[in-house]
Symmetry: C2
Subunit: 200 residues, 2 copies
């Protein structure tokens, strides 16, 4: 956006895309550092030298600002996996799950905490953060059905996404079992693939 | 305990087992109603007409009181399942998981929340609430190995407990898929059993 256009936008009260990104980054930073409750309009305003009035005008409420920040991340962990083979796709998903960067882990923890503590946020959190991951995993399996690799009526299909997300949620309860980065890969090879190929 | 013995115990500052149970029940009640943060020594004292000093003397701190209350529950969801057949055992575990009473669900939610928010409590929570469930599921599978139903080196074995607990943690994210009480049973039949029997 040109400086002229940016100035005009600012005068109209609209934020430039760059400024919006700055604000969203501040929100995500606070979220990672201290969880949902640590995010405050004051904190975001201070961190970005933005007026609180601007924040309220643009997003209305803290929940709306936080979910907008999460929605713009566009960083879906399991998206873009399409090797042409179910086994390789699931192994790649396992590799991605095992190599989650520390920052993503903190963010996911904050989202999980917010999900438990703030029932009013659940729909928005599901839509912005959780549903895209589920869709990516479901899509990966659906492509395998289309290619004829697995039977369309195999009941294991619907459990691939729940198992991936479920294991990620509880792995810290099973320290020794999931210590090794290859544990998720082992799960794919020992549990999912035998179940998905059964009857084919 | 006789009245004489109970009075003597009270004079020595010890709580009778009945009184202890009353206090633990009050703790669990508060936990269900409002989560870990809703439990306070004041609240427990008021609910049971017990002196706060007594609570501090007996348990020292709130975390210790809460974990003691959880430990005495002795109500392990997956314990006692031993039909003699792996398939029937896992289907019974699925039935139990699907029929969790509302009170248990509230308690588990409070424990999960406390686990996320209070890292200092995690070891105690694992020991009192989580480890017994894991042990029960692991034991059920180990008996199947002993009976020769499944191969001892089947890598799926170690994932039975993580899958059960993981699915229970994320089922509310997959409303439609887990709406039906038979979903966990379907998971056992479509995913776990094929994987556990593979190569046998």
């Amino acid at each position: 956006m040109s400086t002229q256009a940016a100035t005009a936008a600012a005068r109209r009260g609209k934020l430039t895309p760059e400024r919006e990104t700055e604000l969203y980054d501040a929100v995500l930073g606070l979220l990672r550092e201290g969880g949902y409750d640590a995010v405050t309009m004051e904190g975001v305003a201070a961190r970005t030298k933005c007026g609180k009035a601007t924040l309220y005008r643009q997003w209305g409420t803290k929940p709306k600002l936080v979910t907008a920040a999460l929605a713009q991340r566009r960083c879906v962990l399991f998206s873009g996996i399409d090797t042409g083979s179910l086994a390789d796709d699931l192994r790649e998903a396992a590799r991605v799950a095992a190599s989650r960067r520390e920052r993503d882990a903190e963010l996911m923890e904050a989202v999980a905490q917010a999900y438990i503590q703030h029932p009013d946020l659940r729909a928005a959190l599901r839509e912005t953060v959780i549903a895209p991951e589920i869709a990516a995993l479901d899509g990966l399996v659906a492509r395998a059905v289309e290619r004829g690799e697995i039977a369309a009526d195999n009941a294991a299909i619907g459990f691939v996404a729940p198992c991936f997300l479920g294991l990620l949620r509880v792995e810290r309860l099973f320290e020794e079992r999931f210590e090794d980065a290859s544990a998720m890969r082992s799960f794919v090879d020992a549990v999912l693939l035998p179940a998905l190929y059964a009857g084919k």
